[in-house]
Symmetry: D2
Subunit: 281 residues, 4 copies
Amino acid sequence: MAYNLLKGKKGIIFGALNEMSIAWKVAERAHEEGAEFVLTNTPVSLRFGELQKLADKTNSLIITADATNEKDLENLITETIAHFGGKIDFILHSVAMSLNVRKDRLYDNLNYDYLKKTLDISAISFHKVLQIARKADAIREWGSVVALSYVAAQRSLYGYNDMADAKAMLESIARSFGYIYGRDKKIRINTISQSPTLTTAGSGVKGIDGLLDFTNRMSPLGNATADECADYCVTLFSDLTRKVTMQNLFHDGGFSNMGMSRRAMTMYNKSLKDCQENSEE
Amino acid sequence: MAYNLLKGKKGIIFGALNEMSIAWKVAERAHEEGAEFVLTNTPVSLRFGELQKLADKTNSLIITADATNEKDLENLITETIAHFGGKIDFILHSVAMSLNVRKDRLYDNLNYDYLKKTLDISAISFHKVLQIARKADAIREWGSVVALSYVAAQRSLYGYNDMADAKAMLESIARSFGYIYGRDKKIRINTISQSPTLTTAGSGVKGIDGLLDFTNRMSPLGNATADECADYCVTLFSDLTRKVTMQNLFHDGGFSNMGMSRRAMTMYNKSLKDCQENSEE
Amino acid sequence: MAYNLLKGKKGIIFGALNEMSIAWKVAERAHEEGAEFVLTNTPVSLRFGELQKLADKTNSLIITADATNEKDLENLITETIAHFGGKIDFILHSVAMSLNVRKDRLYDNLNYDYLKKTLDISAISFHKVLQIARKADAIREWGSVVALSYVAAQRSLYGYNDMADAKAMLESIARSFGYIYGRDKKIRINTISQSPTLTTAGSGVKGIDGLLDFTNRMSPLGNATADECADYCVTLFSDLTRKVTMQNLFHDGGFSNMGMSRRAMTMYNKSLKDCQENSEE
Amino acid sequence: MAYNLLKGKKGIIFGALNEMSIAWKVAERAHEEGAEFVLTNTPVSLRFGELQKLADKTNSLIITADATNEKDLENLITETIAHFGGKIDFILHSVAMSLNVRKDRLYDNLNYDYLKKTLDISAISFHKVLQIARKADAIREWGSVVALSYVAAQRSLYGYNDMADAKAMLESIARSFGYIYGRDKKIRINTISQSPTLTTAGSGVKGIDGLLDFTNRMSPLGNATADECADYCVTLFSDLTRKVTMQNLFHDGGFSNMGMSRRAMTMYNKSLKDCQENSEE
């Protein structure tokens, strides 16, 4: 169902790769709600993903850019403004990657060049997007910027590795730049802390199945899906949330504020009992 | 501008007194967005307020109820379901009062009967509404409940008195009941932590002018108004935020995540310098 | 091992019942560290507990008081000051009880008289102790007050019931009164959020065994014991933590900042796999 | 006054420059409490600072190391263990620097090479210290690691710039590594979030005087001094806080949980009134 919530609004969406991507779902929903936008991703993502399909479906322009490359971002902003004949209203940042995770370097055995890449891609890129947009005065007053985060920024999760530190920094950038961009240009900047989601990136995380089952049983409303995340993004890009800024907004079925649920405890206790029965102590 | 975000939805709105009330603004906006609702407040509020005007404007039924009285609430729920011929989709709880504040009892000189009244009216009433709705199975699946809170639940503010403790408890009830109601019936429960607002209640707080100026200069987007709060409420009652639950959501122009802004510091420094110049030390 | 950290300090310790009580352990450790104190509990606790044994061991005076009763508290403060011939330096508040928990009333079926009792005993009593001490000017400058809390104040735990709301309010009182008492008299007020602990009260909570195993596996350092909590209390009563105030301090082996540990996940996955194998879907 | 709290404990203290340094005060207090330690800082700091004076006073060895250089850190750890003939018990990390701050690059005009330096020096160095210590198995069971942080990690402060993001990352590293090091070796890792302090580094921050006055009036106990911070550190290195880990501990006179104090509001209102009187609007 569509409400015309983003009618007339223009934007840039980073990070759509294929139909599993949250950014892909946001693009679809933003399109349904009347927005126009530029899709952007790295050249390599374009080759392996299916971004053109999304561009066709949403009648969007693709401009390739490496989000860690300032020249690319400057070009992206310039071309986007030229394309729309004016400023934009929203940006989605859904960009993250850790070579330490990919190459199975555990957190107490980090490769520091990889760590710097993790930060560059997953956190500093967000600052670059904002700084370059700010310098070009590319976002209209009361515009809205959203980046995707994860509860690992607050709480340690086995296997999430250096991405936890990157997400903590990402959320800090949202606050730090949210203050300045808000004060100067009325732009709001928030992060959405989304349930673990089976995207192409997410499905690579070891033990993701067990984690998804656990968070699902812990969350009173169950894990939030990528589609639901897209719905939530739409409200944050709309004019109905103008005074929400510098926040990290949990979209996770309640997981973040759960200590222990009945459903998760029941599952946990099952094996606990088994272990105790099988143990001679 | 309206989007039909609440088309077909039914609800109950607690706490509208007059045009300054946040609940009043929520009612107006919910009406514009296609919702139908029952308005409720205490008998005494009806006499002194202008609720009938709002009921006429939004084509709503008024059912009086003291939110601390279980019988009244049971009647409210029963009559509302009868009125709509079925379950409801949303509830707004905007109810708070402190006799300690009104009667100038400072926080280190509380009257404990007043404190119990503060809790009963400002926090426990929220539990009662939820428990009675739950027992009557009055809210449809994926319904949404919102209560209004304030940053005093997290941070101490001179003069906010026992209302701070009541708000802390209110937010806890949103979490505690949000877990149970979410698990059992997919109902979400959140609080909005709103900027200080010049409602009839708010304008009674001593020193509110200085505080409003300070929070306005501290918040990059300025204080959030009652109208903006109503917009935000609409998104939380809509189907676009279904997996947001048990959260306290700051709607405050960024105040909650500010440590010190340039604008507030400039104002502060002015008098600091004056004091230092006028002092002989 | 003892360090004389509390040499010359006087205090009041609420809530020791028997050797399992955290307050009991705090009394033992405070005594070892050179403190003198008054032990207090309700008349009924004295009958069923073994407080006299502790008083003998620590060479302490017992003064009975119902912590919800202002007259009792006034008497306690007056007699304590008389006993020591002067002001005190520290107070431990370890008082909590929920009739809803005891009588198996679930959180969506609360008895509101019981809820008021829960708040009165577990939260408001803390305000009363502080207000009465403040009026009597009973605490020396740079004194320290600690109350015991639990992570349920932030995160919902199956079965913790209305005690969660009471703890949220307790922590709010620590902030609210911490501001005033700090500003006026340099008294600091904090709460310790302790691991679930097998005290007489704790062991009554249903499903406590499973929860203890889960939190133990989630916490990198394991659950904190009552003895360790006593050690931590001693540091907070000492002169080495004078500028720590209005804080809720987690003493829980790291649990509060864990999202998922390897050990807990391994246990959880065991039964998850069993269930999946045994299921035909 | 000394208590022998650290008797027999060995450690490494990073970041003492001169008598204003927090690390300097920690070294003095740790020495008084019976600890032995190695002092470390960069070669350039040694030339401009007065570390030898501190080493003489506390009978300590100095080992120079650039905390961003893995080889230097490996050497530091190896030599320290050789020096003490065994493992150490505690580490203090008090290392931070931002070229963007020094060179007056505002947060919306960051130099990204400087930003990487900020992160490398102020956050990643902490991970390197931990990883290298972990690989060398350099810290004894129940050892304690503390890094110094600032409330800018949570809340935006005018002028604090990219250091805010570095501190957010630093606190995340404490959590992430705290989980692993705790689970494997019972080592605890925490950060202290200290009041703004007039160290050599701090006094370079623009507008620090106004900020210090504001935070002092906001904090019920006033700003925490470097000496008081050293006292607090001692408790965290002692055996009395063994189950405190992965925490960010505010040592700030209550500032972090204040929304508005009477004293700060009075000062603020003074200039507010002046402005209103002098304005013709």
